[in-house]
């Protein structure tokens, strides 16, 4: 099944000029200033076509810093749900990857992946701008591959996954059968 012209145009736009939104989920500020640093003259993330946006409705990539706190948990889900498809999440910093030094604190839920699905992890305390750029570029490379093959559609009943297939109709997983293919 071929994909439509508009779909291909959106894919190309996402790949060539991903707009990012930055959300602090409970970070110590260290990673936040490094994310902003990556946008300023020395590192200049804008040369990859990346532009920081103020609203989640205009963004393709959600750059998250910090361990998720109880207070920001619902807001993070809200922001993620407001973003248009296809959407990607980059967890910047050790706290965002796993909870880091704050793991186990009473106000902390855990890393970003405890709340929303994460596409790329950038560890470091604080993550250096070079690492953030590297993470985003790697995400774009993976994105290109995914766009070529198309996303996988998952059908579920309750919590259990019943069937997973690609857009072209190729079945990747079916509940009662043996694993068909990777």
């Amino acid at each position: 099944m071929g994909r439509g012209l508009i779909r291909r145009a959106i894919d190309w736009g996402t790949r060539k000029s991903p707009w990012i939104i930055h959300f602090n989920a409970g970070s110590c500020n260290g990673c936040d200033i490094e994310v902003v640093d990556a946008l300023t003259p020395r590192y200049d993330l804008e040369r990859f076509g990346m532009l920081q946006q103020g609203t989640p409705r205009h963004a393709d990539v959600l750059v998250c810093t910090g361990a998720v706190t109880l207070q920001t948990r619902d807001r993070l889900i809200q922001i993620y749900e407001q973003m248009p498809e296809p959407r990607f999440v980059v967890a910047v910093g050790t706290c965002a990857c796993s909870g880091g030094i704050f793991d186990g604190c009473y106000g902390v839920v855990g890393g970003i992946d405890a709340v929303i699905p994460v596409s790329a992890y950038v560890p470091g305390c604080a993550a250096r701008p070079e690492a953030i750029i590297d993470g985003v570029v790697k995400l774009l490379t993976a994105l290109k591959k995914q766009q070529k093959e198309g996303p996988i559609v998952v059908k579920a009943e309750g919590d259990e996954i019943v069937k997973a297939e690609t857009l072209s109709g190729e079945v990747v997983y079916e509940k009662d059968k043996e694993e068909v293919s990777q």
């Binding site: 930055h22 959300f23 602090n24 989920a25 409970g26 970070s27 110590c28 500020n29 260290g30 990673c31 936040d32 200033i33 490094e34 902003v36 640093d37 300023t40 003259p41 020395r42 946006q53 103020g54 609203t55 989640p56 910090g66 361990a67 706190t69 109880l70 207070q71 920001t72 807001r75 922001i79 030094i101 704050f102 186990g104 604190c105 009473y106 106000g107 902390v108 305390c125 604080a126 250096r128």
Partner: protein
């Protein structure tokens, strides 16, 4: 009379990078009431400190805030050194001061950029953040990390300076001095900046004292409130510097104070390098600390940062309490927003250099008799303290003059 409208701003909002929710009630374009909603960054690190050893706590305390991490770790180390009765070597005190001033330099450059960004002056934002990279390079060379330096340890410092690094700092300071001079000229003489920043976020001298504003916010209202001068720590008793104050009492004044403070910082860094004593960088520090309690303060780039530590004789603290500068400034912010235009709100909030991760601590006051939550105003709290000391310790603190009367 215009109808009143209530607008929620945040917790995710484009102007500031951290989550906070401001509920602003307006009459037309004028703000009549503002409620500051905090707590989005509350992680519970004071409690976490109680279950870890002092050395582990140091790493948590550094991550209270990524921008003024050195101020926090200095305050915490000072508390421990006081409790253990350890005096740090002179060289360590100078290195602490040096790193603190570099931190102030980077924080003020960061603020100038963020402030410029809030008023739509993105060119200045890019300029200052480019220059800030020079300071971060120095910090990365001296401490090993761009953010969260980790140079402090109880009893001194973890890294020494060598001649190569000193030469590097001197070279960078010469370059930065040129740039800071340019920013000073820009802040003092540029008509656009003056027109945009003058007259908004007014905080009079009396209000600054009444609302307990600290740091550049209070200094811009003419209050010479600087912990480095009134309660010297590390090497601040030796290093000469001028407390910058300004009598504009508005956002413009705050910008002027910060820019002039950068010049002072550069002078102080040079003095530290010229007069760096030789010798050890760290004193031996015990693992267990005798029981006691201590309250210390340091001057973070944003203002007075206070730490309270109570030890119980083991290798873990009994209680750690952090009150960072931004927490003290919120009352002033509410006062400053009211009566101003909605369009001025982002820059007024940004003018205190807010840091929410510093601020979001929580505590509950319980009445020991009824077990219920209890709230006190400032006068009742002072009276409670006086009564407690009279009863428990047999001293009468009511005769001790308030700091306001002594220093200002």
């Amino acid at each position: 009379m215009a109808e009143k409208i209530t607008i929620p701003i945040g917790p995710q909002h484009p102007s500031l990078k951290e989550p906070a929710c401001f509920t602003i009630t307006m009459e037309g374009e004028k703000v009549v009431n503002a409620v500051v909603g905090l707590g989005y960054n509350h992680r519970g690190l004071e409690k976490a400190c109680e279950s870890r050893t002092y050395i582990q706590d140091l790493y948590i305390i550094e991550r209270v805030c990524g921008i003024c991490s050195h101020a926090h770790s200095t305050a915490f180390c000072q508390s421990l050194e006081y409790l253990a009765g350890v005096e740090i070597p002179q060289r360590a005190a100078f290195i602490r001061t040096l790193v603190a001033e570099l931190e102030r330099l980077h924080s003020h450059l960061l603020w100038l950029g963020v402030g410029a960004h809030e008023i739509g002056f993105d060119t200045l934002f890019m300029y200052t953040w480019r220059d800030r990279e020079k300071v971060l390079d120095l910090l990365a060379t001296l401490c090993g990390n761009r953010v969260n330096y980790g140079i402090n340890t109880p009893g001194g410092c973890r890294r020494d300076l060598n001649d190569e690094e000193i030469a590097m700092i001197r070279k960078a300071m010469n370059e930065l001095e040129e740039q800071v001079k340019y920013y000073t000229e820009l802040a003092l003489n540029d008509t656009i900046l003056a027109a945009r920043l003058s007259g908004i976020g007014k905080l009079s001298h009396d209000d600054a004292l009444r609302l307990g504003a600290v740091g550049p916010v209070s200094r811009a209202s003419g209050v010479p409130d600087d912990v480095r001068a009134i309660d010297p720590y590390a090497a601040y008793g030796i290093v000469p510097f001028k407390v910058i104050t300004d009598d504009h009492c508005d956002v413009f004044g705050r910008a002027v104070v910060r820019v002039l403070e950068m010049q002072e910082s550069i002078k102080m860094i040079r003095f530290c390098l010229d007069n760096l004593p030789s010798g050890e960088i760290a004193a031996k520090f015990p693992r267990r600390i005798p029981a006691g309690e201590v309250f210390t303060r340091v001057e973070a780039p944003r203002g007075e940062d206070t730490h309270y530590v109570r030890s119980n004789g083991t290798d873990k603290p009994d209680r750690v309490r952090v009150r960072a500068a931004t927490e003290a400034n919120w009352h002033a912010v509410r006062h400053m927003i009211e009566g101003d235009m909605l369009a001025d709100v982002p820059i007024i909030i940004a003018a205190i250099d807010p840091c929410y991760s510093c601020t979001d601590r929580s505590f509950v006051v319980k009445d020991p008799l009824t077990g219920k939550d209890k709230q006190m105003d400032w006068g009742a709290l002072r009276q409670y303290g006086i009564d407690w000391y009279r009863k428990e310790r047999g001293v009468d603190p009511s005769r001790i003059p308030l700091p306001g009367k002594r220093f200002y």
